[in-house]
Structure formats: C-alpha cells, structure tokens
C-alpha cells in the first residue's frame, strides 16, 4: 500500500472541517469552496478506487492497518470490498451533492459546513472500517451533528423541528445502545481479543459462537440496524426527521446513513452471526413486507413532499430488508444494489425538494402546482427521481429491484408477492405527487421563481449521471457487488441447507 487512499477519503472532510473552523465567519465563499473542493477530491479518489478495484480478485483491497488500542484489540483497519465500495461511492457522491445543495445557506454558514464535513467523515468511516470499534465510533459520531443541524437549519412543519431532531437522535441512539450491547457481547464471546470484523466473522462461521448466542446477539443487532433502516415498527423517526432536517441532512440521512443499517446487517448480522440471521430471517421478511406496503399506503395520503419521500424511503427499505432476509446470493446482491439505487434516488429527491423549499418556502403538495412551466430543470430532476423510484428500466432502481424479486420469491413467496404488489402503490403515490406538483395549469405565483442554475444544478447533474449511468449499464454496479457477494456463497449455501427455525414460508 503506497498511498493511503481510504485514509485520505476519510480524513479529508475532517481536515476540511478543521480548516473551516479556522476561517472567519464572514468568508462564506472560501468556506463553501473548501467544502466543495474536499468533497470533489474525495469523490475523485473514490471513483479511482472504484475503477481500480480488482473485481476478479475480490476481497478487501486498498487495505490499511495500524494497531490502535492494543488492550482491546482494536486496529485502525480500513479496506473496501465489493459490498462496501459501492456504499463508499454513494457516500462521497451524495456528500458532494449535498455540499452544493447547501450552497445558498447564509445563516451560520461556517457552523453548517463544519458539521456537514464531520457528518460525511463519520458516514465514510462506517463503510470503510474493517474493525467493529471504528465502525461503531464513526456511526455514533454522525448522530450529534445531525441533531444540531436539524435544530439550527431545520424547518418546523407538522412537528416542531426540535421534536423531530430529538426523536431522530434518541431513536438512533437507542438502537445503537442495543447494537453496542450486541457488539460487546459478541466481542467477549469471540474471545475478547479483537474487534476486527474478519476475526469475528471467522469466529462466527467456525462455530466458536454457539447458536443460542448468535440468535440472541443478532436480535440486539437487529434492534439497532433495524431502527436505523427504519424497519417497521421502528420507522417513525424517519419521516419526521427528514421533514425537520435541512435538505443536505435529509440527503445524507436518507441516502447514506440509513444504508448503514443494511450494510451492518450484512457485514455483521450475516457474516458474523449467520445462524442468528437464519433464525430471524422469516420475521425480518414479514416486517419487510409490512414496511413496503404500510409505508406506501401512508405515503399516499401525505401532503408534505418530504413526508412523501420519507415514507417512500421507509417503503423502499422494505425491499432491502426483504432481500437480506431471503439470504441467498441473488437477493443479497439485490439488497446492496437497492441501497445504492435508493440512496441516489432519495437524495436527488431531497435536493430537488430542498430547492423548491428554498425558493418558495412551500413543501405542501396542495400548495404547489404547475412548476414545470417555470422550472423545467427541476422538473427533469423530479421526474428522474420519481421514475427511478417507480422502478423504470434504464434508471438505477430497475435491476436491483428485479434482482431482489428474483431472489426472494422462491424463499418467501407470500411476502415477496405482497412486496411486489408494492410497485403498484409506489407508482400511485409518486405519480400523484409528480402530477400535482409539476403539472397542471400555469400558476403565476411561481412565475418569478428562478430555475436551477450554477451550483444548484450540480446535485441534479451529479446524481442524475449516476442514476442513468448505473441504470443503463447496471453491470458497472452489479459487477462490483458480485465480487463482494460471491465469497459469501458457500456460507449462504450452508445456511439454506439448514432448516428454518422461526416458521419459514411466509
């Protein structure tokens, strides 16, 4: 390892945060430029890593290892494989887009970008960590900046932003409390000498951790990752939180942070506690099905754009959960791909909603109409995101969704059937929203609203490129993910051979 690429990607935002700290409050332009420059650098490096990743060889690449806390067995170990690399890419792309989405923030600009950079660094860390301690550390680092950002730059709609912020924070932290217990007991049970994910996974798969323990520990992890992934009934923080948060936070939160839940379930739940995963999978599948339909139904009666997308993302996370629960190579590939797809799509949505809100201070569907007349670019952004979330081919969501369906239908026929029915409801609420907001007669009130240009256009272009690019050439995404999932196949085969315990066949 010559150049510490991942460390650079991880630490660059922190360095930027520090640099911004040292600037005077008034130099807003420099602050923005630093943030944008740093994120561009990180994105370019990540893209390089994505391109240079050897999918044939697979496994952890770009690894870095420095012993850190020896008496706990913590190592500063970074690395990416086919599962984490797409997530890393997602993080940096959305991070970059969110910087531009926040371009026009004039209120306490300095504080905002410091927090945003810390947030991005935290999320980045969770995906590239190969050590559980670092994973947890980075994850929890993220929560507090979000709270402060909601508090200062958030907006009060259905619920006060203070409520939304604290709900989100406490919910996630409560989840992480269970997760911490799970992780600590895991660490002890595996011998208490290493937090390294590979070491723990080896312990889990070789039978050092007995089945009862795995079942128990997985439940704890599920509580943590499940609430992060807004699994029913732990989802209620998510729409409120997104509605309260400034758009950059919504973007990162819906786009990336939520995915830590799915990523963690695979990285820890499946790899370290395979028997636990096997035990709880049917329950997860049932809840996933509820997620898909329940949230879609609720999204249908929402008025606030952010609530619609909030519930929509709860609904989409149901597919991810379902993919996970089916525990086969295809469905898990689909789950990972779906996380990427939803990340790009949801953050595009939030950036566009953010733009509307910034310019009109309106977010309620009944109050908006006919924006297509005045804001054609925004319309394109909205349509792209909307159509992607409907699952149209040529856009990013199609192949992942299809993959999940293929992977799950044979395992959980009923759940999958109902979840697939979700595509109808998704179409229903998305199209209703698009129709109402974008189309219809010209409304003179919006005549003076300028269309997106300059920095405002960047999120649309950036996310749009990935939305369409991965849609038209899914192998760019699926190839990398496949190299990450292929090593799991023996484990998954072993699992599927074992009988289901919690009443299979939902």
């Amino acid at each position: 390892m010559d150049f510490p690429l991942l460390s650079t990607v991880l630490l660059a935002p922190l360095a930027a945060a520090l640099a911004i700290c040292l600037l005077p409050r008034e130099s807003r332009d420099q602050i923005r430029m630093i943030a944008a420059g740093t994120m561009t650098l990180a994105t370019v490096l990540t893209l390089y890593a994505y391109a240079a990743y050897d999918t044939v060889e697979g496994g952890m690449q770009f690894t870095e290892e420095v012993p850190w806390i020896t008496d706990l067995g913590v190592t500063y170990a970074l690395g990416v494989d086919g599962i984490s690399l797409p997530m890393l890419l997602l993080t940096d792309v959305i991070g970059l887009a969110s910087v531009f989405s926040s371009w026009n923030i004039e209120k306490r600009t300095k504080d905002f970008f410091v927090l945003l950079m810390v947030l991005i660094a935290g999320v980045t860390g969770t995906f590239i960590a190969r050590d559980l301690f670092i994973f947890l550390l980075c994850y929890e680092v993220v929560v507090i900046p979000i709270y402060i950002m909601v508090l200062i730059w958030g907006s009060t709609k259905r619920v006060p932003k203070e409520y939304a912020g604290i709900k989100l924070t406490i919910f996630l932290l409560m989840g992480s409390a269970f997760m911490l217990v799970g992780v600590v007991s895991l660490y002890i049970a595996a011998g208490g000498d290493s937090f390294g994910m590979e070491a723990l996974a080896a312990a889990g798969q070789s039978g050092v951790l007995d089945e009862n323990f795995q079942i128990f520990a997985f439940l704890l992890l599920l509580l943590g990752f499940g609430s992060l992934l807004s699994m029913f009934p732990f989802h209620s923080w998510s729409p409120d939180g997104y509605a309260g948060a400034p758009s950059a936070v919504s973007m990162i939160h819906a786009g990336v942070l939520k995915k830590i839940g799915g990523y963690g379930l695979i990285r820890l739940g499946l790899l370290v506690l395979p028997l636990g995963a096997k035990f709880w999978a049917p329950l997860i599948a049932a809840l996933a099905m509820v997620n898909v339909l329940y949230a879609a139904y609720i999204a249908m009666v929402q008025k606030d754009l952010k609530y619609i997308i909030g519930y929509s993302s709860v609904s989409h996370m149901g597919y991810v959960l379902l993919g996970f629960a089916a525990l086969n190579a295809v469905s898990i590939t689909g789950a990972i791909a779906n996380m990427v797809a939803h990340g790009i799509m949801a953050s595009l949505f939030f950036s566009q909603i953010g733009y509307i809100y910034e310019r009109t201070h309106l977010r309620s569907v009944p109050e908006l109409a006919g924006l297509a007349h005045h804001l054609p670019r925004l319309t394109v952004g909205f349509m792209l995101a909307g159509l992607a979330s409907v699952g149209l081919p040529g856009l990013i969501e199609f192949v992942p969704e299809f993959t999940i369906f293929v992977g799950t239908l044979s395992v959980y026929p009923v759940c999958a059937f109902l979840a697939i029915a979700g595509i109808i409801f998704t179409a229903l609420y998305i199209l209703r929203m698009l129709a109402k907001v974008l189309f219809g007669p010209r409304v003179e009130r919006f005549a003076g609203v300028p269309d997106e240009q300059g920095a405002d256009l960047v999120p649309l272009l950036l996310l749009g490129v990935f939305l369409v690019g991965f849609g038209l050439f899914p192998e760019l995404l699926m190839g990398v993910i496949r190299s990450g999932v292929t090593p799991l196949e023996p484990l998954l085969a072993q699992l599927s051979a074992a009988p289901a315990m919690l009443g299979g066949g939902f």
Binding site: I69, C138, I148, V184
Partner: protein, 479 residues
C-alpha cells in the same frame, strides 16, 4: 517510617501553609490572584513531581502499613491534582468576582486535596477515615463559601447534616468491622474469619454505605443535587470529579484488600446499586433545567457506571473504573469551566443562562458539548472508550443485563445533555438577541476549557495512552 511515602502529602501541606501565609501577608482587599497562581504553580509542580514516583516492585509504606504509596494511589493522586489545577485555573475569575476571602478558599481546596490524597493511600480504616473527614469537612466549608448566595449556605447545611449522618454510619460500621475483624488494618481484617458473622457483615455494609455516600450512589444520593446546585461552581466541579474519585479510590481498595473474600455476598448488592444509580440518575436528570443540578444527577449515573466497572471485580473492571474516573475528570473540567464563566457573567447556571452560547462564545459551547457528550459516552469523546472498557469488563463477567441497562440509560442521558446543547445552539427568539452578544471569556479559563476538551477528544481517539497508565496502576495494586 519512610517519609518518602508521604512526600506528596507533605508537599501539599507545605503548599497549603504557604498559601495561608501569603494570604495573610497580602493587603486586605487586594486581589488574591497571586495566591491562585501560587496554588496552581505549586500543584502543577507537585503533579510533575508525582510523575516520577511510579515504580516497579514494592511500594513505599509509611508507619506500620497505615499508609501505602503504591501506583494505584499515585494514579488517583494525580487525578486529584489534575482536577485541582484545572479548577483553580478556570475559576480564577469566578473566585475573584463571586467569592469573599479567596485566599482562604485556596487553602481550603488544598486541605480537601490533602484529605483525598490520604484517602487514596489509606491502607487501614483509621487513615481512610481521617482522610475522608479532612476532605469532607473542608468541603462543608467550601460548599458554603459563596456568602452572597443564600443557596450556598443552605447547601452547606444540607451537606453537613447528611454527611455527618453518613460519617456516623460509617464509623459505626468501622467499629463493627473492628470488633469482628480484630484490627483496623485492611489486610489484617481480610484474613479474619469472623468477618462472616452477623456483626462483621453488618459492619461491612455500613462501611460501604459511608463510601457509597461519597459516590452519591442511589439510595445514598439525595444530598447531591441540592449541594451541587447550591455550591459555588468550582466546588461543584471538585465534588463531582475529585470527591467522587477519592470515594472510588478508597472504596475499591477497601473492597479488594479488606473484604476480598466477600464477593459472593457483596456483588449482588453492588450490582443492584449500580443499576439503580444508572437508571435513577439518568431518569431524574431528564427534568432538570439547572445545568449544575442536572450534572448532579448525571454524576449519580456516572457513579453507577463506575460501579458497574467495579462489580466486574477483576483487574479489567478496576482498570475500566479508573479509566472512567480519569476521563470523567476531563469532562467535568470542560463542563464546569464553561459553567463558571457563564455563572460569573450571567449570574446563573440554568439552561436559560447558557442559551445562545454558541453565538456568544462558540468555543465554550463546543467545549460544553464535547464534555457532555463524553459523559454520555458518544464517540469520538473519551466517554465512549470508557464505556466500552467498563461494559466489556462487565459482560465478560456475565453481567449482560447491567451492560444493557448501562447502554440504554446512557442513550437516554443523551436526551438531557442535548437539551443543554439545544439551548446553546438553538435560534434565538425575539427578545433574546442580547444573548448572542460576545461573552468575555478569561483567557485562562478559555485555555483550561480548551485543554480539557482536547484531552477528552485525545483520550477518545487514542485511549491507549491512558489505558497503559491505568493498566500499570491497577496491576501493581492487584499483586
């Protein structure tokens, strides 16, 4: 009679005397800043001196094993010294403005410190008791030191009444243990089989009650909120970190040297108390609007966490508790440094008083947030590493439920810590604009706050250094 064993105490005593003399020598009404600088410089020098006292092998003992200057004691003494130095520094301005007779204030701080150091080194009940009382009586006065505030007097009286009651209980316990164990020496007591009789066991629990009072563990916590709230802010800081740490120091030594064979008997008790403290402290803190009072409840919960480390009853747990005690010092310094400045400038420590601090003094707000997050155990602050140490030790001994309570309650605690953060960071409402005006922050206090926050982050990111120290200290003790 190895006087080298008591060199730290002797130095502190000398410093104490010199502050008294200096104070007397100075003109009436003159600023007592020189005394403060003398105190701080002297303490810093002693702290530097103690760094050289860590040793391998046998520890120096003073007078028939009454007083043991081992690495364990040394660690805690450094902890007290550290807390004291920072407190003196960040409260310079506060003391000058809010307290009468600042010279005597420093002398009393030093006598409390002396008491703590004696406690840390105590190797029999007599020494422990003496140290404890030296500290406690000094604190009675310190708590009531803010003559301008009636609350301060009330707090002192309450502390005195409850504290005297607890002293009586502890003494009664000591007398029973003495009767059963036939000695006041820890090691001698531990060897006496009569400790397992009704008298012996009753004595043991009464002694423990006395120490638990110092730790303000539930149900011996009732005094803490009132006293913390009423006391002058620097004194509150010391109560929270140093007094508590001294309690922990002597408590652990008593448990592990005097009653080492009583594990089966005591552990369920201690676990219950730890759990109660974690739950009760955090729950009670939720409704508080005064930050100092909230920190009092929070300190009850912190005592619970440290006890959770102690009940692991092994080297790891002890190390974890020591680690936690140390990082708690830094967290407290940060929080109270900010509070002292706010208290001095705005005349109070309620949430109302810290409102808008992120604009009035962004650095202080950041330090406050970091310190509170460290108490809550959110990374990358030291508290996270501390909690991981404590609860890995706890889980390792099979007490998973304690870890569940600990983690869940610490997340609940984030709620009330964030209420403070919220007050500092939220948008100001109309009519509150004055709160955004820059707050004059004394440079020494600023430096102290910054250093503590930096230390909190440094320990959080790189816990190894401190862990090595605690390892070393606890190992020699366990031999």
């Amino acid at each position: 009679m190895d006087f080298m064993a008591v060199q730290t105490e002797i130095l502190i005593l000398l410093l104490l005397l010199s502050t008294l003399v200096t104070d007397l020598a100075m003109a009436k009404g003159a600023s007592r800043r020189p005394v403060a600088y003398l105190t701080a410089a002297g303490l810093a020098a002693i702290l530097a001196h103690t760094c050289g006292l860590y040793h391998e092998g046998a520890s120096p003992v003073f007078y028939m094993g009454l007083f043991l200057a081992d690495n364990y004691a040394l660690f805690f003494k450094q902890l007290f010294l550290l807390g004291m130095v920072f407190t003196v520094l960040f409260s310079l301005d506060y003391v000058e403005r809010c307290l009468p007779h600042p010279g005597e204030f420093y002398s009393l701080l030093l006598s409390a410190l002396l008491g703590m150091c004696v406690m840390a080194s105590a190797n029999d009940f007599l020494t422990a008791f003496t140290g404890l009382e030296l500290m406690t009586v000094s604190f009675y006065i310190l708590v009531g030191f803010r003559l301008s505030s009636a609350d301060s007097g009330e707090a002192a009286v309450k502390y005195l009444i409850v504290g005297a009651g607890s002293t009586a209980v502890m003494l009664y316990g000591i007398s029973l243990v003495y009767g059963a164990g036939g000695s006041l020496d820890f090691a001698a007591v531990s060897r006496n089989v009569h400790l397992f009789t009704a008298v012996g066991l009753a004595g043991v629990v009464l002694v423990m009650a006395g120490f638990l009072f110092k730790l303000s563990a539930i149900p011996f916590h009732m005094w803490a909120p009132d006293v913390y709230q009423g006391a002058p802010t620097p004194v509150t800081a010391l109560l929270a970190m140093a007094s508590k740490a001294a309690g922990i120091a002597v408590f652990m030594r008593v448990i592990f040297t005097a009653f080492p064979y009583l594990g089966e008997f005591m552990l369920p008790l201690l676990k219950t108390i730890a759990a109660l403290s974690m739950i009760g402290g955090n729950l009670l803190a939720i409704r508080q609007t005064d930050v100092k009072r909230m920190l009092a409840y929070s300190s009850i919960a912190q005592a619970g966490y440290m006890m959770a480390g102690i009940v692991a009853a092994d080297y790891f747990g002890m190390k974890a508790a020591m680690f936690y005690a140390m990082l708690y010092v830094f967290a407290n310094i940060g929080a109270f440094a900010v509070l002292s400045v706010v208290d001095a400038e705005r005349g109070g420590t309620s949430r109302r008083h810290v409102t808008g601090l992120s604009q009035a003094a962004p650095m202080l707000a950041a330090v406050m947030t970091i310190s509170l997050l460290s108490m809550a155990g959110i990374p990358p602050t030291a508290g996270f590493a501390g909690k991981i140490y404590i609860f890995t030790a706890t889980v390792e001994r099979g007490n998973l439920w304690l870890a569940v309570i600990g983690f869940v309650m610490s997340m609940i605690s984030v709620y009330y810590y964030l209420q403070v953060t919220k007050a500092m960071y939220r948008d100001l409402e109309p009519g509150e604009e004055t709160l955004a005006e820059p707050l004059p922050v004394p440079s020494v206090a600023r430096a102290a706050a910054l250093v503590s926050a930096a230390a909190t982050l440094a320990i959080g990111i790189c816990p190894e250094s401190l862990a090595v120290l605690t390892n070393f200290a606890s190992q020699t003790f366990m031999q």
